[in-house]
Amino acid sequence: MLSIDFKPFIECDNSPFILFTAQGKIAYLNNAAEILMGYADPKALYDIALAYAPKDYGYKTTTLSLQYDALHFYAITVGYQDEEHICIRLYHQPRLNKPKTLSSDKYVTTDINTLLEANITLFQMINKNELSLLVDQDIPEFKIDQNHFSKLLRKTLHAFRASDSIYISLKFLVGEYVIINGKKEGLIQLKVEANGRYNDEDSAIETLANENHISTAFKEHSITLQIPFIK
């Protein structure tokens, strides 16, 4: 007899799927939703599920734009599993799948901390406010297009030219990868956050980042760059 147990299929679905109890507790979530939980607040997702729930039994799909860091969604489906449970499924916004290749001659083995320090020195000529740094000094040298990456750092920091309480962190991202030239590469994350920032150069930052295979996440108070760790 044909099985209609689709749970394993949901489990490995690329779209996040979450089942909430009536009290807003998570009863079940699939693999994609586990990643989403690293960026989104479960309570906020539960509230979204309630707000877009169908009036009656059944399922309701709504088109709306949701963004959690690098995760973009264009629609959700909300439905009642039973009297006690409500479920939500989020649909990833399609992205242009540009083949990630790089011409190796432009990429030079570099100490990212040196580039960051030089850019902070330049930045502090404009912004005299104190900034906090939490950087992993042990990050080994890896391949960067030094000139391009420096421009990206300058522009990223420039978005915080009038900010105070600036906090900069640089670390390895454990367990996250990017495929470049068919090879799995690790990721370094640089995050700059403050009490506020300018967003006039966000598109220029994004363009520069894309040219360097770096992903970006813009928030009201922060900019995050995820840099491929190419040995």
């Binding site: 432009k106 040196t114 330049l122 000529m125 000139n147 421009k151 300058r154």
Partner: protein, 243 residues
């Protein structure tokens, strides 16, 4: 190798930035008014780098083709920014000003602004001492100098600073014969028309009264020292618009 000295914190930050990136393949530009020490700073930081004048486009393009490290002067004079390829090179450009902000922003990873001397009082002190010593040596003066710091001219940075110091040193040490000779050459050049006496008498009277007032304080006392009537002195003060 030319030495560069600074006491200014802002300039020290620029030096730090250049030192951190001097082995990297990045493009940097140092922008600042003329005579602020940009060239001296760059030549002390990159003593072995070849230099090319940005006003000569063909020489610049040839230099970019041949060298991985290059100092480009007069960058503000370059109009064809699209023709420049700085990829995978260490470029240090020097400019008196930025004409096209967007192009410069696109071309350079590091944009440093060299502050003018009027924003670097620590460096003015150092340069004043240096130029005064130079003036004493060149003019062969043994006596100690007392410079009037309010008369130092920073309008064109070190150029006018040096000039104003040399002038002060020369003026303070000029004897009567030198003043006479200076006036002689000046009159030889400028005397003309039919009212020459009146037109040139201020060259003698104005500094005489100004110095006298500073030295003796009151008009009454000065009129006695000069041996002229107080009313005559007052009239001349008015004529020469002396405060």
């Amino acid at each position: 190798m030319e030495q560069f000295f600074t006491n200014s914190e802002a300039v020290r930050q620029i030096v730090k930035g250049f030192n951190l990136t001097k082995t990297l393949f990045v493009s940097s530009i140092l922008v600042g008014e003329k005579h602020t020490g940009k060239k001296r700073l760059i030549s002390s930081l990159f003593p072995k780098a070849p230099w090319v004048d940005g006003r000569d486009m063909s020489a610049l393009q040839e230099a970019l083709r041949v060298h991985d490290e290059l100092v480009i002067t007069h960058f503000e004079q370059i109009s064809k920014h699209d023709a420049l390829d700085f990829q995978h090179k260490r470029i240090i450009a020097i400019a008196d000003y930025i004409d096209n902000v967007r192009n410069v922003d696109n071309l350079f990873a590091f944009i440093y602004m060299m502050p003018p001397l009027r924003e670097r009082p620590e460096d003015v002190d150092y340069l004043t001492k240096r130029f005064a010593a130079e003036a004493k040596e060149i003019l062969m003066i043994d006596e100690d100098l007392t410079l009037d710091h309010s008369r130092l001219d920073l309008s064109q940075n070190s150029k006018t600073l040096k000039k104003s110091i040399f002038h002060q040193v020369m003026h303070q040490n000029a004897d009567a014969a030198t003043i006479e000779e200076t006036l002689y050459h000046y009159f030889l050049k400028s005397l003309q028309g039919n009212n020459g006496y009146k037109e040139h008498i201020h060259l003698f009277e104005k500094p005489l009264i100004e110095a006298g007032l500073k030295k003796f304080g009151s008009q009454l006392q000065l009129s006695q020292v000069l041996g002229i009537n107080r009313n005559t002195l007052r009239k001349k003060i008015h004529e020469h618009a002396i405060d």
